[in-house]
């Protein structure tokens, strides 16, 4: 378990570099996936709600510091997303989650929560309708992020029967 704690921090930095340099090149009409969210959901499901919340808090803090956005905005949204992802942490079912479509759904749900909370707290124009906000700021990026989470499902190591 300790090695997972270390890996969850180590993997953040290269993913953030990819998120800020390569991911903008694969944007579709301004919609970009969130690789940090996939990493957060993965480790929150493996390590539990408390770890997920703290990890989300840490990822958000580092992201805000490094990208220059409103300090605290990503902290708030990722903390909540990590908490929600950690809810699905279950030692008995986790293998099934990681090898099936359930992982996509969890990533999708956490992405929506993260993006909607982030948009709300960064003073989005309140003349925009809530449904439009949910669709453009939450659902579309959430779908894109959950599609990319297929790599976790494809490369998740199978348990060997010894």
């Amino acid at each position: 378990m300790r090695s997972e704690y270390i890996w969850s921090v180590i993997l953040f930095f290269p993913l953030l570099i990819i998120q800020t340099t390569i991911v903008p090149l694969i944007a579709i009409r301004g919609v970009t996936p969130d690789l940090i969210m996939i990493l957060l959901v993965f480790y929150s499901m493996r390590c539990g709600q408390i770890y997920g919340s703290v990890l989300g808090f840490s990822y958000g803090l580092l992201f805000d510091l490094i990208t220059g956005s409103l300090l605290g905005s990503t902290m708030l949204s990722k903390t909540l997303a990590g908490f929600i992802a950690g809810y699905f942490s279950n030692e008995n079912k986790i293998e099934n989650y990681f090898k099936s479509y359930i992982f996509f759904l969890i990533v999708f749900l956490c992405s929506i929560v993260d993006l909607v909370i982030y948009s709300f707290f960064t003073s989005l124009d309140l003349n925009t309708s809530i449904l439009k906000l949910l669709f453009e700021q939450g659902i579309l990026p959430g779908i894109y992020t959950s599609i990319l989470s297929i790599f976790v499902v494809m490369f998740y190591p199978k348990r060997s029967i010894s």
Partner: protein, 283 residues
Amino acid sequence: MFRFFSSIWENFKEYIILVILLTISLVTMSLSQNPAARKVKSLAFGSFSAFTSVISDMVNISGLKSENSNLRKLNAELMLQVSELRKYGIENSELKGLLGLKDTSMLPLLAGTVISKSLSRSQSTFTLNIGKKDGVASGMPVLNDHGLVGIVNSTSDNFSIVRTLKNLDLKLTVKDERSRVEGIMKWNGNDLVMIDIPKTYDIEPGDRIITSELSSIIDIPIPIGSVIGLSKVETGIFNEVRINPFVDFIRTEHVFVIAIVENKIENGEQMNFYLRKKLEINK
């Protein structure tokens, strides 16, 4: 008593920790403009940007060949235009001399490259590979060959962060180049819009929008975009003008920083928000 708190902790520790972390996040948000927080941000993005600049250079190499070919063609076209303009420039100088006007066309430009982008819908920012050591300061406009990209928001020694036009925190005074109608432009999460434009004012789709001399941040006319439509509100007396920016923020790689921070003082008050912040920090 101890058992009571202990049982509460055992049953609700996840929620207690969540509430604590959310509270810290909200407090941090309220203190985000604090000078100490800004210094920490500057240090963090300065350190990280050194790594992203390496990756960004590797990514950009792949597009260099086609970009070079396009640039050579553009150079040839510009060369023809320049020789035409040179003729008008000479004539203009002579006329200006007669009127006693000062020449303000030579602006100091600092070339920079975008090494990372945060393309959030509400707070889009770029990180550039030039900083304080190169002469960049907060409040300097950033542009490319198409138009205005944004304003420098914070700097470290070797890097700087630019708030692009697609950032909720950036509002500018702009005007219609044809009809000279002025207004405030902002990003509303979906479009660049000029707000509170009276319905009787002359603005049509296709009009070019440029920065206005009335702006306390940029008083040099820089192209921003073209009008794509008016959101005509049935009630009230104002329209909202939607603008399509000239700059493609996804493909922008090379930019120029105008090394001037507008100093506008009226009635003893500094009108430029970025200079005012700097004075408060120095106090």
